[in-house]
């Protein structure tokens, strides 16, 4: 499980995250909401070890981020907000490319299955001919190659069609339920958040989100 203890983050004098604490159990999906600039990406980056908190502790399965950063990283899957794939490669080549650099050896069948699981069935096609939704799926599949326990996604469904959005949502649900993964993701789509997430974390000052969340009938933590 993931334990976040009193995380604070400031850039210079600007305090972005103030005393954030929560924990995530295996199989849980946590949604992260808040207005633009509230610090959602900052929090995800800290949880992904890509940035250090100014204060506070994080522990993933008994491993402290401070002391065992390298081992912690092997258990984390991070889906960047920018699509980070090779446009001139096919889906297959992208998967093989990142498998070569990954911690885990996976067979081609396993790689293809990862894509099929989220209904990305265009295996041989060059990525540049794919729709935005397909690219998002591939971007996510790559982050799952090394079978991480904690999956962190920064706006994985932004700007794509409804069908792909639903398929990605279903896949997240499956990953949580069937594979017992911990999932945290940010989105601006309240419907999506309230149907998928077990609990919601709201950061920032804007009362708009807090009011909106009251209707969602979920466990909500606000900071």
């Amino acid at each position: 499980m993931l334990k976040v203890q009193s995380i604070t983050k400031s850039y210079g004098k600007k305090l972005i995250l103030n005393q954030i604490s929560f924990s995530v159990q295996p199989g849980e999906i946590i949604g992260l909401v808040g207005e633009n600039g509230a610090g959602k990406s900052t929090l995800l980056n800290i949880l992904a070890t890509l940035a250090s908190p100014t204060n506070g502790n994080i522990v993933l399965y008994e491993k402290s981020y401070r002391e065992k950063r390298k081992e912690v990283r092997k258990q984390i899957g991070y889906v960047p907000q920018d699509i980070a794939i090779w446009e001139e490669f096919s889906v297959e080549e992208n998967m093989v490319f990142f498998e070569k650099l990954s911690w885990k050896r996976r067979s081609k069948q396993e790689l293809q299955q990862l894509c099929l699981d989220m209904e990305l069935d265009k295996w041989k096609e060059p990525v540049k001919t794919l729709s935005g939704g397909m690219k998002r799926k591939l971007n996510m599949a790559i982050s799952l190659i090394h079978e991480p326990d904690l999956l962190l996604l920064d706006e994985p469904t932004v700007g794509i069609d409804l069908k792909s959005r639903k398929e990605i949502g279903n896949h997240l649900k499956n990953l949580a339920i069937k594979e017992n993964k911990m999932i945290m993701y940010t989105s601006h789509d309240m419907d999506e958040i309230s149907t998928l997430c077990d609990s919601i974390i709201c950061i920032g000052e804007d009362p708009f989100y807090k009011n909106l969340l009251k209707e969602a009938n979920k466990q909500i933590v606000t900071f």
Partner: protein
């Protein structure tokens, strides 16, 4: 390393034609430029005909002297052939060494030694005739001097006679030592040009060095194309850190470049009669490491590959002018001798393995590695 090679080959497969082109560029461009300048040089020689009607030592040596002139292309033919080729303007002019040439020279007669043909288009006739006459005069002069000396000797001390032949041999010897024209030509022929008689203005390995720098710079653009903001965070969760990945790729590129460098050595030996030795191989290896790591460091400074290409081309132009690899810069280096030491390509042009400039990029790359990964890439 195998995984890195595998991923690199996946990239190369997508652009194999352009990669092959840039890898081969130093070989192709150097061979083309050397061949073209040789052809141009060969074409600019003046074609003349020589008709030799007498098979004597002096006549043949005059023919050889004319043939060894770098300005002339000498065809040996019969008088009638010469005349018809002058009429058809295939030859600029023709010269006939008449029968009795040697005998006349030995007797000090200067009449009708050489007959010449020209046409209304023979633009080089006069200077060539002057050149030929000066050679003939050399021979007649020698003979005259020898006659004078033997005459004097006969009159003064007949017992210590030096023979006519000995005097001619001695003057030939002196001439060989002092004839400036002839020694310049022969020194070119001695200097490792080998089988070819052509004196190439261009230095094969100098040209190769410039084209290699260009192709290395352009092929190092992978570093810019792959250092995309979205891609960097991925490396945090992979088996290789980004710097590890980049350095191993650099190593693989150096190996691939060295294979093509080896091919250059073989091709230049076959086509351009360049010699191979250990100094050359050592110099190529250190030069390769120098330019590959330097290009790597330069590419690290850029985010936009088109800007990087522009800077690369400017850099190469600068090197063409200042490195002395293509254009001679003797004038500059005589006035500023430190230029030779400051020129990073000079050790390669001198074919020495040790290049002090190599330390600079190697040190910088080491510092870059030692600085470690940025947390938030």
């Amino acid at each position: 390393m195998m995984s890195i090679i595998h991923t690199r080959l996946m990239h190369w497969k997508k652009h194999w034609i352009s990669h092959l082109f840039w890898f081969l560029l130093p070989i192709l461009a150097t061979v083309c430029m050397i061949q073209i300048t040789n052809v141009v040089q060969e074409d600019s020689k003046i074609p003349i005909g020589m008709v030799v009607k007498e098979d004597s030592e002096l006549a043949n040596s005059l023919l050889e002297t004319m043939k060894s002139s770098p300005l002339l292309r000498v065809y040996e033919l019969s008088e009638s052939e010469a005349r018809s080729q002058i009429e058809s303007h295939e030859l600029d002019s023709a010269f006939i060494i008449e029968d009795g040439y040697e005998a006349k020279i030995l007797h000090g007669s200067r009449n009708r030694l050489i007959t010449s043909y020209q046409s209304n288009l023979s633009f080089a006739y006069t200077p060539i005739r002057e050149m030929l006459i000066s050679y003939v005069q050399q021979d007649t002069g020698k003979v005259k001097a020898a006659h004078t000396i033997t005459d004097l000797q006969e009159r003064l001390q007949p017992e210590a006679m030096v023979s006519f032949d000995e005097i001619i041999a001695k003057t030939n010897e002196i001439q060989a030592q002092e004839n400036l024209l002839a020694t310049t030509f022969s020194s070119y022929n001695d200097e490792g040009v080998g089988m070819k008689n052509d004196i190439s203005i261009l230095n094969t390995w100098g040209l190769w060095a410039i084209f290699s720098i260009l192709s290395t710079l352009l092929l190092t653009d992978w570093l810019i194309k792959e250092r995309r903001p979205g891609l960097m965070p991925r490396f945090a969760f992979m088996r290789f850190t980004y710097k590890n990945y980049a350095i191993q790729n650099l190593g693989f590129y150096v190996i691939a470049f060295l294979l093509f460098d080896g091919l250059s050595i073989v091709v230049f030996k076959q086509l351009l009669s360049e010699s191979i030795d250990f100094n050359l191989i050592g110099a190529i290896i250190s030069f390769r490491i120098l330019i590959s790591t330097s290009a790597f460091l330069l590419a690290l400074l850029f985010k936009n590959s088109y800007f990087y290409y522009s800077v690369s081309f400017i850099l190469v132009l600068f090197l063409i002018i200042l490195s002395g690899a293509i254009l001679p810069i003797d004038g500059l280096t005589k006035r500023f001798p430190w230029l030779l030491d400051a020129n990073p390509i000079q050790p390669f042009l001198d074919q020495t393995f040790w290049n002090p400039w190599l330390l600079v990029p190697l040190a910088l790359v080491s510092i870059w590695i030692a600085k470690g990964e940025k947390l938030n890439a």
